[in-house]
């Protein structure tokens, strides 16, 4: 049976993509940021997952306001990125797993999640930058199922709804009758704001509290409305929704494998969090 072996959440700031393509790993601005990912990659090399289910938010590459989903699930054979208008590289596409995608979609619709389905889907920097941070270069050792969550157009789905989505995804994975190791990812955040007179807003105190609460007290975070999250974490800080969906998939208790926090990367407070479901850790300790 398929098994969730862990969860990863990371920021997806476009500038990271530029820094990677320019090999700025030793640059003073970037060095400690990139070093933060080494334990995550080591954990992945040890864990060797087969499948990554990735909660991310499109920034106007694949979806427009003429047909904007609240939740969209990829069901494509592969997912390529594309130029988003400001010069990021086009990378090798990521292999999908349509049969698993449809299994997931069937389970989600049966649980009354009204998802859109995408048999063809371009994935933007919010998808590929986290992938490239965790699996560098052209290697594609995992098959992916992207799940897109609307953060472009209010009303966004509530933190509670995204948490329920993550729980439903975990229930579906637990029912996949194949021997697969699955990681669940959430991309985006932490606090940042691109628009308005408050552009550049960062809330370090809130972010650090988030990094604690999301592990042990996610219900504190799902208690916020999206407008409260905008106020506390900035307009784009609502990308925390992706982290909450990932966290929900870990089950009631999770433990931290590694975590890092770095301010600023471009306009953003960048965070990384790797979790394991606690039941698994205990089972292995026995």
């Amino acid at each position: 049976m398929a098994k969730i072996v862990g969860g990863l959440a990371t920021s997806h700031v476009p500038a990271i993509g530029k820094a990677m393509s320019e090999q700025k790993f030793q640059d003073p601005y970037w060095k400690s940021f990139f070093e933060g990912y080494e334990p995550a990659r080591a954990w992945l090399e040890k864990t060797k997952p087969d499948i990554a289910v990735v909660f991310y938010n499109d920034h106007g590459l694949n979806f427009f306001l003429d047909n904007l989903p609240t939740f969209a699930v990829g069901a494509a054979p592969e997912y390529g990125n594309a130029d988003e208008g400001w010069g990021l590289p086009v990378v090798a596409p990521y292999p999908g797993d349509p049969a698993l995608s449809w299994r997931l979609i069937e389970d989600l619709v049966a649980e009354e999640f009204d998802v859109s389905t995408c048999q063809q889907m371009k994935v933007d920097h919010a998808f590929w930058i986290p992938m490239a941070l965790l699996w560098p270069g052209a290697q594609r050792p995992v098959r992916v199922i992207p799940i897109e969550i609307n953060t472009v157009q209010h009303p966004l789905p509530s933190a509670k709804r995204c948490f329920k989505l993550g729980q439903a995804v975990a229930r579906s994975i637990a029912g996949w009758d194949k021997d697969l190791k699955v990681v669940v990812m959430g991309t985006g955040g932490l606090s940042h704001q691109l628009e308005g007179e408050r552009a550049g807003f960062i809330n370090k105190e809130f972010d650090l509290q988030c990094l604690e609460d999301i592990v042990a007290h996610p219900e504190k975070l799902t208690g916020y409305s999206n407008f409260e999250l905008v106020e506390l974490a900035g307009s784009q800080g609502v990308e925390l929704l992706m982290w909450l969906a990932m966290r929900a998939a870990m089950g009631p208790e999770a433990q931290v494998v590694t975590s890092s926090y770095h301010v600023p990367i471009s306009n953003t407070a960048a965070g990384l969090l790797v979790l394991e479901p606690k039941a698994r850790a205990m089972a292995e300790a026995v």
Binding site: G60, E195, G196, G200
Partner: protein
Amino acid sequence: MTRNAPPSIPGTPVFTGVQAVRGYALNHLCYSLNDAANRATFKDDPMAYCARYNLTPEQTEAVRSLNVLAMIAAGGNVYYLAKLAGVYGLGVQDIGAQQTGVSLEEFKQKLLEAAH
């Protein structure tokens, strides 16, 4: 329809349905700029491109003057506007500096200070 109004957060436009209705033409134009050929056409004659997408006079003037706050006031969504900024080689820090009325260096400094 008071429900459409989100709580007011200083300096923080929230893109609800009201903004979406107002800004559709401008956002549609910006979305088209994902395509390199469209970016070239836009650059050749921005005002003609604005006319082709039926921008309002307010939106057209905001594009002409590259004024991000004016674009947002005219219904622009920053995710789409970023593509327009990209045509001019402007990144999120450039538009952050412009919107907050400081130099790029000052804006970067403010971000660095957020670390403390």
